[in-house]
Symmetry: C2
Subunit: 188 residues, 2 copies
């Protein structure tokens, strides 16, 4: 099982980026996201995507990061541009034998986080995006299986298409709404 | 050469996501980003990162997407959850023999875009994030070289570290500022 912990979320400022973090976690075969700061709108938006496109996928908010980090029984990784290279750390991870917690911050990650995890991992030592870092990390850990999750229980399913929008179970423009009208990948 | 075209940017709403798109393109070894709608703040923020962390990397905004798509001499790919699977399309791309244009939309990508590109590519047929899709696509096309660009001419350099922040040429907290104070990956 893979859980993503999103830290430092500021509801006004980070709503869309945090939603992208959550949807990326879901699409790349993580099982759950915990947002440390409470934000009911983000949670509702992500649950809306799970209702329409399927699960299983869990999301909750308002769980202090210190508690999550302290209580998590598996291996804990923090994605940071200051960390050790991805390709060096990933082969040492014990997933899937042990559960994996992947921590992604917004601004100003508290110093203690660097100490409370097993690995600080850099997806490149350049500043970019926690969304990109999470996607590349989840792919590096799982390989192509990251994109092959079978989602069940949704209302709609996208059928791959060379030129158009082919959706089973709903109109394309309904299908791709993320429940927030935000700019998520094809949330159009 | 790899160019990223960002479509449908709305300055107030998309400033941070578009900045993440630009920084992800830079970190994953693309050469240039064109934002179709003009936004001087986003351009200045990205150029600030190039000044501090190095280049070469170009960014411009305010170039209508139709013109970019019409005039681009190489192969054109649009990332969309409705497209054909990544693993099916990437082996057919002619990069690096031909230049590559990677189109990423925000909401409501105009229908014509689907027709003006050579390939509509899905990085998973699930709604997630154009930032994640771009990162995974650039990695799929280039392999590990995507994360091995040698940046030159910057003021600072991050040294990989197991626990802390080790930066050559500046204080860590200066180093990681993205010029926008936004929540980019470790923009803390």
């Amino acid at each position: 099982m893979i859980t993503v912990l999103r830290l430092g979320h500021r509801p006004e400022r980070d709503k869309r980026i945090t939603t992208h973090v959550c949807l990326t976690a879901r699409a790349l075969n993580a099982d759950k996201v915990i947002v440390s700061e409470r934000d009911d709108r983000v949670v509702a938006g992500v649950r809306g995507v799970v209702d329409r496109f399927g699960g299983p996928f869990e999301v909750e908010s308002g769980v202090p990061h210190r508690r999550v980090l302290r209580d998590f029984p598996g291996e804990k990784v923090h994605l940071t541009m200051y960390g050790l290279p991805l390709e060096e750390v990933v082969p040492r991870l014990r997933w899937p034998e042990k559960d994996l917690l992947v921590v992604v911050g917004a601004e100003k990650v508290p110093r203690e986080v660097y100490e409370m995890v097993d690995h600080n991992v850099a997806v490149g030592n350049q500043p970019h995006s926690e969304v990109a870092a999470l996607a590349l990390f989840l792919y590096a850990v799982q390989g192509p299986a990251a994109m092959r999750k079978r989602f069940v229980g949704g209302q709609v399913e996208v059928v791959p298409s060379a030129r158009g929008k082919d959706v089973r179970g709903g109109a394309p423009d309904d299908a791709a709404e993320t429940g927030e009208g935000d700019g998520s990948f094809d949330g159009e």
